[in-house]
């Protein structure tokens, strides 16, 4: 047993750190460190910088143009990016759909879709959720009917993150109503510029436009955009979700945000209050314990033995921690968290702040982060999965 990274891993970390320091635009990291609004250009600029280096698909194997990193190397890369204040990689293309295309798609699909994902040129969206289905994904209703060499798609997706920027969307669609609800689902790639696709914003409780409804009205999709076999989409989707849940623990970002919480609490004069400080201390232990759990999973992946069935725990704890630090930051600001001045959340705003400049987005972020225990399979769904491993 050994807690330390190997000298080679340490060297790898230092190389990543130096590269990120030299290549991450300072105006972007400034926004991230201060929770200011990131534009489409900010996100795509960083994606393209990574893409050019061959690191946007940092989890990809070498045969598909990825760096072929180990689980530990991937973790170290994520950590260095997070601590430096890089924006979170928009995961839908490189982290979610790409592994599905690689694993279940054909050679033609590899050639057609992977280069645009790897370079950051093509923006992907995720079409899973539907009104009324929530975490019960298998109940989805959006239909795709095969007509010759096309599918005709009708229905509605919702909670589609950043679909307003989307070029392509990967969708779970119903191709059969026979048998169990899971068996009639297919995995379809849809060009969002196709006639009949409409994107409508959903404004969230923080006033932000992050998610959308996406409508499909007799949308024609070439049959060659089907991944794998018809009615096997559920299997592919589960493959994807297992990816999403490990990623979603996001412990590295939690470390960065805990540092920010301490800075804010100091600056607002509440860090010396033992009652507040104890709350920060509790969170600190939570973050360390989560990090140890992540390291245990990495170690198991590295050795190839003792697989650990604790991915569900990572999602539950990681999302709770994210909520907790946003809550404590807001509480640290006290009444100065209350003014709602949207422009103050933009970088470079020249107006007069109420209180310190950094307090402007704190409440909005707290409100926004209530999503973390709901998306990607709610905490209740995760608990059901965990209980299954304990009780059968």
């Amino acid at each position: 047993m050994d807690l330390a990274f190997t000298p080679e891993e340490q060297k790898f970390r230092e190389e990543i750190r130096a590269w990120v320091r030299d290549n991450l635009p300072q105006e972007i990291s400034h926004k991230v460190h201060n929770a200011l609004h990131l534009t489409r250009d900010d996100m795509q600029r960083w994606a393209k910088i990574l893409g050019k280096k061959g690191w946007l698909g940092y989890g990809w194997p070498k045969e598909f143009g990825g760096p072929g990193w180990t689980a530990v190397q991937k973790h170290l890369f994520e950590e260095e990016c997070a601590l430096a204040g890089a924006p979170r990689i928009v995961p839908f293309g490189p982290v979610m759909v790409a592994p599905v295309i690689m694993t279940f798609g054909n050679a033609e699909q590899h050639k057609r879709f992977l280069p645009g994902i790897a370079s950051g040129e093509v923006w992907w969206s995720q079409g899973y959720s539907e009104p009324g289905s929530g975490s019960d994904l298998a109940s989805l209703k959006t239909r795709a009917e095969r007509k010759g060499d096309k599918y005709i798609v009708n229905g509605q997706k919702t909670w589609t993150t950043l679909a307003q920027y989307g070029d392509w969307i990967f969708c779970l669609v119903r191709t059969s109503t026979e048998g169990k609800p899971q068996t009639g689902i297919s995995f379809l790639l849809i060009d969002m510029k196709s006639p009949g696709v409409t994107v409508r914003p959903i404004i969230m409780l923080d006033g932000g436009h992050e998610v959308n409804e996406v409508f499909f009205d007799n949308v024609e999709v070439p049959a060659e955009n089907l991944i794998g076999e018809e009615n096997k989409g559920w299997t592919y989707a589960k493959h994807l979700l297992s990816h999403e849940r490990t990623n979603i623990a996001d412990v590295n970002r939690a470390k960065r945000e805990l540092e920010r919480l301490k800075r804010i609490a100091k600056s607002e004069g509440v860090y010396a209050d033992p009652r507040f400080r104890d709350e920060v201390a509790r969170l600190e232990v939570d973050v360390v314990a989560l990090e140890m759990m992540v390291l245990r999973v990495l170690s198991a992946e590295k050795s190839g033995k003792n697989p650990l069935d604790i991915a569900g725990l990572l999602k539950i704890k990681g999302s709770e921690i994210q909520q907790r630090y946003t809550e404590l930051m807001m509480l640290a600001a006290g009444p100065y968290a209350l003014p709602f001045i949207k422009e103050a959340m933009e970088a470079g705003w020249q107006g007069e702040h109420v209180g310190a400049a950094y307090v402007a987005p704190l409440a909005a972020t707290y409100f926004n982060y209530r999503k973390t225990t709901i998306y990607g399979g709610s905490s209740e769904v995760q608990r059901t999965i965990v209980a299954q491993t304990v009780l059968g």
Partner: protein, 371 residues
């Protein structure tokens, strides 16, 4: 970064588990509690397995092993809620190896390793609560050695052991001494504690003592940190077993015509218990792997770990009793004894609130496993 156990460590685990299953079943344990909570014969069996010499160098007759092996052993003893104070032996051997002079080492370490001598830490005082820097016991030079005067509380197996490690002040500064129980001026009043094991109030009146180190606070902090890591591991074993007992019960006990494990409210609570178990296990690894870190880093890690373990122990212990219903609050059922053990471990080497204070006091600007 690697959390796999070596083949040797797995073999050690198997050996201890076999001994617990065979030599320390629940009826045996119950008999030991009835007889006063300590059985020197049982302790002798642990020593025969080599466990008393686990931390002691081979030149002194020990096995020369490290914190990971100690963790493996303590987990298994926790799984069987073994009462004999092996954690104390780890502490005594660690402190004497690290701080005592060669004469003291040669006199005591081989005897500790063989199980012939049992040495425990006698550091708790009435007013100190869990603080280590508060000490009213005093020591002064006497002849060629020293003498110690003071009262120490809740000393593990205190009326049965051979010697104590005793913090006492010299010119206002804490030093650490070794005092034999058979020495003049030592009086031990024994009793059982809540988990059924044995402890004593020990009074020292001008008792002859050997100096271990004048840097007593440093040694005492190190001693307690060895104890915290061992306690965390012991707790993980007890938590693991508590979870297994509860899962088994939920899958067999029927209410309203179906097993308890079919109720979502209870299933979700089991998921929460599993969460606390895995957080606890993670932080036990963390404590163990930081035991040889530089002092500040080590102390910070122990506070974090013991805080997490305290939270986990209280949650899983209480929930397990609740999910068992009436049977969970009977003396007859093994589960209730795990609950009491977990409760006692929470209050050993600093409770949860105490360690939250430690974490709070030691927080730095950065956070994380390596900070």
């Amino acid at each position: 970064m690697d959390f796999n156990f070596s083949d040797d460590q797995e073999q050690l685990r198997d050996a201890v588990r076999k001994w617990v299953d065979k030599g320390y079943d629940f009826e045996r344990r119950r008999a030991i509690v009835k007889a006063g909570g300590f059985d020197r014969g049982i302790y002798g069996q642990l020593a025969e397995l080599g466990l008393a010499g686990l931390y002691i160098a081979e030149e002194h007759g020990g096995m020369g092993m490290g914190p990971v092996e100690a963790m493996v052993v303590m987990e298994e003893l926790g799984r069987g809620i073994v009462m004999e104070p092996l954690a104390q032996t780890l502490i005594a051997s660690g402190v004497l190896s690290g701080y005592a002079n060669d004469d003291l080492k040669s006199a005591w370490l081989p005897r500790i390793a063989s199980g012939e001598a049992l040495v425990v830490l006698a550091h708790q005082e009435r007013k100190a609560r869990y603080r280590l820097d508060l000490c009213e016991a005093k020591a002064s030079p006497a002849g060629n050695g020293w003498s110690v005067t003071g009262d120490k509380s809740i000393v593990p197996a205190g009326d049965q052991v051979d010697a104590f490690l005793v913090p006492a002040t010299v010119d206002g500064k804490i030093a650490l001494f070794l005092v034999e129980r058979s020495a003049q001026g030592v009086n031990a009043r024994g009793y059982v504690t809540q988990d059924g094991s044995r402890a004593a109030e020990v009074k020292f009146q001008s008792a002859p003592a050997a100096l271990v180190t004048k840097d007593g606070l440093t040694a005492l902090e190190h001693a307690v940190d060895i104890g915290i890591a061992a306690t965390c591991a012991e707790a993980v074993g007890a938590l693991d077993k508590t979870m297994a007992l509860t899962a088994e019960y939920m899958n067999t006990r029927k209410q309203f015509g179906v097993t308890l494990s079919t109720f979502q409210a209870l299933r979700h609570r089991m998921a929460d218990m599993k969460m606390q178990l895995e957080l606890a296990r993670s932080m036990s690894y963390y404590a163990t792997l930081k035991l040889n870190a530089p002092t500040e880093e080590r102390r910070r890690a122990m506070g974090r770990a013991k805080y997490q373990l305290g939270v986990s122990m209280r949650f899983i212990g209480q929930q397990s009793v609740q999910m068992h219903g009436g049977i969970g609050v009977t003396d007859e059922y093994a589960g209730s004894h795990y609950f009491k053990k977990l409760t006692q471990l929470e209050m050993t080497f600093g409770d949860t609130l105490h360690h939250l204070g430690e974490v709070s006091a030691r927080m730095q600007d950065t956070a994380g496993v390596f900070a």
